[in-house]
Subunit: 427 residues, 2 copies
């Protein structure tokens, strides 16, 4: 039986970003690269995949060693994926053996001994498969998964780097917009609807609830994907809010569904030609209110703005994102394989956390849903328990440097590593 | 002939906020109230209209004297209209004499000698009518208009308080989202569309152009209301951007129209001023690209978020908003009537400005459009001249205080002034 760990030698690192990017995934990259640079006696070069795992398959590697320390440091405050990301899931070994053989060819050619994959659930699965290459195909490699997802749906870890900053953006935005609509409500707009991301999990929508600190504060209503949408109850609640507070601010998750399991966004309106108008769920909800209750509305769709908003990132999130990157290298140096640095909450008030080691087999392909007791009984808001969990994650501001009124984000040179293989590979 | 100015006596102030609110209109209110408080020997109480001019008509006045200095100071960093705004336009004297007579009744009952109206073009018109009350109905009052509008379409003044902060929000947001889409473009989203406000004027859309500092920088395309939308040319430009840079980030103004003068997206509803309520053009543009070019897209509608985003306000804008509020009181003390404090740019590099006096008759009902030479010849971007104008307006950050990860905005007590009139008035 092949060994699952290998003796630490001066091997190179392959690092890649995967899936939807975030405001802080580059902070994790920064943690990886800076920590590797501090351990030059034990670690060789840090190569990054151009556009994620595709960069490995196509042998398009980036030599991060060509970047000055200042550029690498600037990754800490630069949103998006500096090396390019991809949406590409490796199939199982049995289904696509050629892909794994190709990876080994590339890794071997470039003396890769460490594989760091920075992503969400799908990426954890990919990383797990790579971690088994020593066992399955005899190529010695240590694969470590670095958690990242705004959806906050990875198990074991207290939260997922990327989420805290989206949470902060959403809470800040709904608070600001709700102040606006409250000013306008007397003669004009009474309803404001903000659509947020999160897929099947209501974590991001729940974060909007943090803005409501006192009775009557906005948002008055949150629509979760976990709660079946009930038009009658919803409209009654909107009316109640308008009667009580003069207005109503609503956070709606993109993943909200009706009792038949259809996305509300799909049930959209039709244009003059009878075509279904595909659009945001915010629009659907706002129009429903207009039609049924006659209130004037405004709606916003934050989309990429929410996950790219580095200017209002959570300091806690930035620190944790850096820490998991740093820990990944330290785990590699400690000879670990098939693990993920996870965040463990050691105290709630004051919030304290540390990095622990999670076994990748327990992370991959498991979605962490919001606990039921995080949603209030009526289904329209968060509970105190949820607030206690979320509150620390948006703590602190970590403003990027500004010049000429604009945040200064780094664009790396991304110098290509010379290809060593003759064969190309069709991805 | 009645005098158009009155002798300065210890009269009270009526201050009201009008039209769409902004991230900094409360900074103007702060300037008014703090300056009045410094001149207690000459100025009586500062009353604010609850929900704008409606508060005057319905005798719903707020006594700002009941607010501690700390709360008033906090207005400087609080977005929205602290006293409520309204969309309500006074008709001409001949058309609705009863309204003017009612205003005089209320003003007389509360010893109002100064009328400060904080708004855009429509409000300037209202303010002008009030300024003529001494002449037309024999009631001595000094009316001073305080400029505010995110649409930046008031004449004479270098820019309109409120605009600079929206400009900064839009430039920051498109830069951040464009970094995101560039990371995703290889296997996923290639197009990002951000819809912004601005009605018939492209000022806000133009501000997005500030993010593009170097060749190829996002946004690659801006769609202005001043440029007739040409689908063929637009799609060709999108394709060119994707071929050249791998992706395309687009800022689209809500007011973009086709060759027949129709809004690309028209929701059909109208506000109290008869303006069409716009929104949803991002979706139209994104779907057009998907259908015709097949690129995967994401789109965002910033809506109220852009004008409420006090967390990323322009320091220059905040300072100017405060300054026009302060100057309004100073002009009142100098016996002025029918004027507006305007911002005058005295130097471009470095940016220097001062407050000057503009005659209200020259402000009301005139829209300042973008100069033609602010839009590039191809119609898809801004010129260097435009950049030179806009650049100073987004300078500097002025972060609000944060607590528990959230900006701390003030909600005033808004204590009602006891009504003195027996009659109510139907607005």
């Amino acid at each position: 039986m092949a060994k699952t760990t290998v003796k630490i030698a001066k091997k190179n690192v392959f690092y890649a970003q995967s899936g939807g990017v975030t405001a802080v995934i580059n902070a994790s990259a920064c943690g990886v690269i800076e920590t590797a640079r501090k351990n030059k006696d034990k670690i060789g070069k840090v190569y990054a995949g151009r556009n994620g795992i595709i960069g490995a398959l196509s042998e398009e590697l980036i030599d991060t060693g060509k970047e000055p320390a200042r550029a690498i440091a600037a990754l800490r405050h630069t949103p998006s994926g500096a090396f390019g990301s991809c949406r590409y899931k490796l199939k199982g070994l049995a289904e696509n053996r050629a892909e794994y053989e190709r990876l080994i060819e590339v890794f071997e050619a470039h003396n890769i001994g460490y594989f760091f994959y920075n992503g969400g659930g799908d990426s954890a699965d990919t990383c797990l498969k790579i971690s088994q290459l020593s066992k399955t195909l005899g190529y010695p490699i240590q694969a470590i998964h670095i958690p990242k997802t705004v959806d906050n749906d990875l198990p074991i870890t207290d939260n997922c780097p990327g989420f805290g900053s989206v949470a902060k953006y959403v809470a800040v935005s709904i608070r600001e917009a709700a102040f606006d609509v409250a000013s306008m409500a007397k003669t004009s707009t009474k309803i404001f609807v903000l659509e947020v991301m999160g897929r099947h999990a209501g974590w991001i929508a729940a974060a909007g609830g943090l803005a409501a600190e006192n009775e009557g504060d906005a948002p008055q209503i949150i629509l979760f994907p976990e709660v079946v949408f009930n038009e009658r109850k919803f409209l009654a609640r909107v009316k109640e809010s308008v009667n009580k507070y003069g207005c109503c601010a609503i956070v709606v998750s993109e993943g909200v569904r009706d009792s038949k399991g259809r996305f509300l966004a799909e049930s959209g309106t039709r244009d003059a030609f009878g075509h279904v108008q595909l659009g945001g769920v915010a629009l659907v909800v706002a129009q429903m209110i207009q039609e049924k209750l006659g209130y004037k509305h405004h709606w916003a769709v934050a989309d990429y703005l929410q996950r790219a908003a580095r200017h209002i990132a959570s300091k806690t999130d930035v620190e944790q994102a850096y820490a998991v990157g740093k820990a990944a290298v330290e785990m590699a140096l400690a000879g670990k394989n098939a693990v993920m640095p996870a965040i463990k909450r050691t105290s709630n008030k004051p919030y304290r956390w540390k990095i622990v080691e999670a076994r990748l087999a327990k992370v991959a392909n498991r979605e962490k849903m919001m606990p039921k007791n995080y949603i209030s009984k009526d289904g329209f808001h968060i509970t105190q328990r949820c607030r206690g969990y979320l509150q620390p994650l948006i703590q602190g501001e970590d403003y990027p440097p500004f010049k000429n009124g604009l945040p200064q984000y780094v664009t790396l040179k991304n110098v290509a590593v010379k290809k060593k293989l003759k064969k190309s590979f069709k991805v």
